[in-house]
């Protein structure tokens, strides 16, 4: 037997048996589709969590970043003395240093007067700490007392800011302090905050009267062009207090990602949800394959009596598993793409369907189906040709 017919014949019989019983086929496809969608959604939410959790650090402009050792993540920083940041100035490669202040507090919806928590970033606008175009162009206006800019990608509960600004309703309160929203920028929400506001360091202190300019949350360092980031990092480590951690840009992103996947239970929850989806799919596909073998026991025994070998039926079961994986994956992918769009439009979470993600999920589903097939082939032994007469 050549290798083509080695797989083709059992696969063809598997296919013919599958399409013979349409109702059962549809039930089987629905099972795989369910697992598929569950895995896609869990993966999508998790990736979106990671992507948006680091949307703020991703937009940061700088070469090295100082944080207190006890800061678990950017959204919950432990402040440290500004003098630590100033000390780095002594290094010849350091061109510019700027403090960044962060505070979570509530923001009053201009229309409904409801309060909701968001993140306030305070820094000297001239330092251009964030690569946000509109903030950079409006840096002069942002220096004015009691002005802020608002993240358009914040959750809609804060109110339709764009429309409100167009009709001149720009006054509201942050942390019981009245401010004016003078413009919008685009950054993205994370699981820690539902929205973002950028303001000047001076305004930040007005909004948070308990804070002082001398205690900063993050220190941003820009180096002279051509200097080695890694070398400067090593040099600075020796100069600074030991409770300061120095990150390069990539390390900071990595640190933030790690926080969400390890420290926070959220990463685990999504991993768990994904495994549950696969387990449910596995059980369904196993049930289908198992009853399929039971129902075809007489037919298999007949074929064995005709001279078909055991391995033929193993290939047949795996071919069935393969077809179920493909037939369930295709509608699962289509449904997931539309659910991703729905999530993007309704929940303002970035949910891109990438080719890599589709391949990953298909591999998951295929392994799931093969594992189910592997568990079901034990049942083949029950097909005994001697029972056929």
């Amino acid at each position: 037997m050549n290798s083509f017919s080695w797989f083709y014949f059992p696969a063809r019989l598997a296919w013919r048996q599958l399409i013979h019983d349409r109702t059962k086929l549809i039930a089987a496809i629905a099972g795989v589709l369910f697992a598929c969608v569950l895995v896609f959604m869990q993966l999508g939410f998790r990736d979106s969590l990671f992507a948006s959790a680091i949307s703020a650090p991703t937009k940061l402009n700088g070469d090295l970043f100082l944080m207190h050792k006890q800061s678990e993540a950017m959204w919950r920083p432990v402040p440290f003395a500004r003098s630590e940041l100033m000390r780095t100035f002594g290094h010849p490669a350091v061109a510019e240093v700027s403090p960044l202040y962060l505070g979570l507090t509530w923001f009053k919806n201009i229309e409904k007067q409801t309060k909701r928590t968001l993140m306030v970033y305070g820094y000297n606008p001239e330092a251009e700490l964030f690569g946000l175009d509109t903030v950079i162009t409006q840096q002069r206006e942002l220096q004015v007392k009691d002005t802020v800019m608002f993240d358009e990608y914040s959750r809609p509960e804060f109110g339709p800011m764009r429309e409100l600004l167009e009709v001149g309703r720009i006054e509201t309160e942050i942390n019981d302090y009245t401010i004016r929203v003078i413009g919008l920028f685009r950054m993205g929400v994370s699981f820690a905050s539902d929205g973002n506001v950028v303001t000047s360091d001076q305004n930040f202190m007005r909004i948070f009267p308990g804070r002082s300019l001398n205690m900063i949350d993050i220190g941003v360092i820009k180096l002279h062009p051509g200097s080695s980031t890694d070398q400067v990092k090593i040099d600075l480590q020796q100069r600074l207090n030991e409770f300061i951690t120095i990150f390069t840009y990539d390390e900071l992103l990595e640190y933030e990602k790690k926080y969400w996947s390890n420290t926070a239970p959220i990463g685990f929850i999504f991993g768990f949800g994904m495994v549950m989806g696969l387990v449910v799919g596995l059980v369904i596909v196993y049930q289908i394959l198992f009853t399929d073998i039971v129902n075809h026991r007489n037919e298999f025994a007949t074929l064995k009596a005709m001279g078909y070998k055991q391995s033929y039926f193993v290939r047949l079961v795996f071919a069935t598993a393969f077809f179920l994986a493909v037939l369930g994956f295709i509608p699962g992918l289509i449904l997931s793409i539309s659910l991703y769009h729905l999530a993007e439009s309704q929940m303002f979470m970035p949910m891109p369907m990438t080719f890599g993600k589709a391949i990953n999920v298909f591999m998951f589903i295929l392994s799931m189906c093969f594992l189910a097939g592997f568990l079901a082939i034990r049942k083949l032994k029950d097909a005994n040709p001697a029972d056929m007469f």
């Binding site: 037997m1 014949f9 399409i19 007489n298 001279g307 078909y308 070998k309 001697a386 056929m388």
Partner: protein, 225 residues
């Protein structure tokens, strides 16, 4: 004439919860090439058991069972598969694959071997179905065929691979007199054409006339006539 089935001193018993149930006792029979043998006997005498041993579907361990020159006593899986591939089976129930058409069912016999193209297989299946009078039922699935038609498809399936031996267990049991007679006449005709031997178990005395020889199995032993 050459001997295709040669059974000497065959003993066979079923082990049933601590109990041994002897079924075949010191059994002897030889069947020649092209011969049609009908085996009758009371219910429970061991006819079906004997067929499954000769057809390499059941393992026997005592005596000698030579089929097409191969010893089946304590045989390997490979020997059994090779005998199965050279044997055509007709079961009491038709045992057709219900997801396949008549034509596809018949070509399943040929798909095991890699010596034909798809077209050759389907052509052979068509010829076989025409020979059993079902040339107009090629694309019917078993549930769209009558009982007699299904049994004729299974005759076509058993003979499509040009087997040297045909084993049939009460092939007419589920058929009326007319279609039962028709089925065995076709079987005999096709077997004679290809020189196959037939061993047919039946209670149906109306079909005894197709046989070259009728033997009776009683209490696990052959009572020759």
């Amino acid at each position: 004439m050459s001997t295709v089935i040669n059974v000497r001193n065959l003993n066979f018993s079923f082990d049933q919860d601590e109990q041994v149930l002897p079924v075949l006792k010191n059994m002897n029979i030889a069947i020649q090439k092209g011969e049609i043998v009908i085996m009758t006997g009371p219910s429970g005498s061991g006819k079906t058991t004997f067929l499954t041993i000769v057809g390499a579907l059941r393992q026997a361990i005592e005596g000698s069972v030579e089929v097409l020159g191969q010893q089946l006593i304590n045989s390997s899986e490979q020997t059994k598969v090779s005998i199965r591939q050279q044997t055509g089976y007709i079961f009491q129930q038709h045992n057709l694959l219900k997801s396949l058409t008549a034509q596809q069912n018949v070509s399943m016999t040929l798909e095991m071997f890699n010596d034909m193209s798809e077209k050759e297989r389907l052509d052979r299946a068509t010829d076989m179905l025409k020979a059993v009078g079902l040339g107009d039922r090629l694309d019917h699935k078993p549930d769209k065929l009558s009982g007699g038609e299904r049994q004729r498809v299974s005759i076509a399936r058993a003979l499509a691979g040009r087997p040297k031996i045909v084993l049939a267990d009460e092939p007419t049991a589920s058929l009326d007199k007319q279609s039962g007679q028709e089925a065995v006449t076709i079987l005999k005709h096709l077997a004679k054409e290809s020189g196959a031997s037939i061993l047919l178990v039946t209670h149906d005395y109306r079909i005894l006339d197709i046989a070259d020889r009728v033997v009776e199995l009683e209490d696990g032993m052959i009572r020759s006539n």
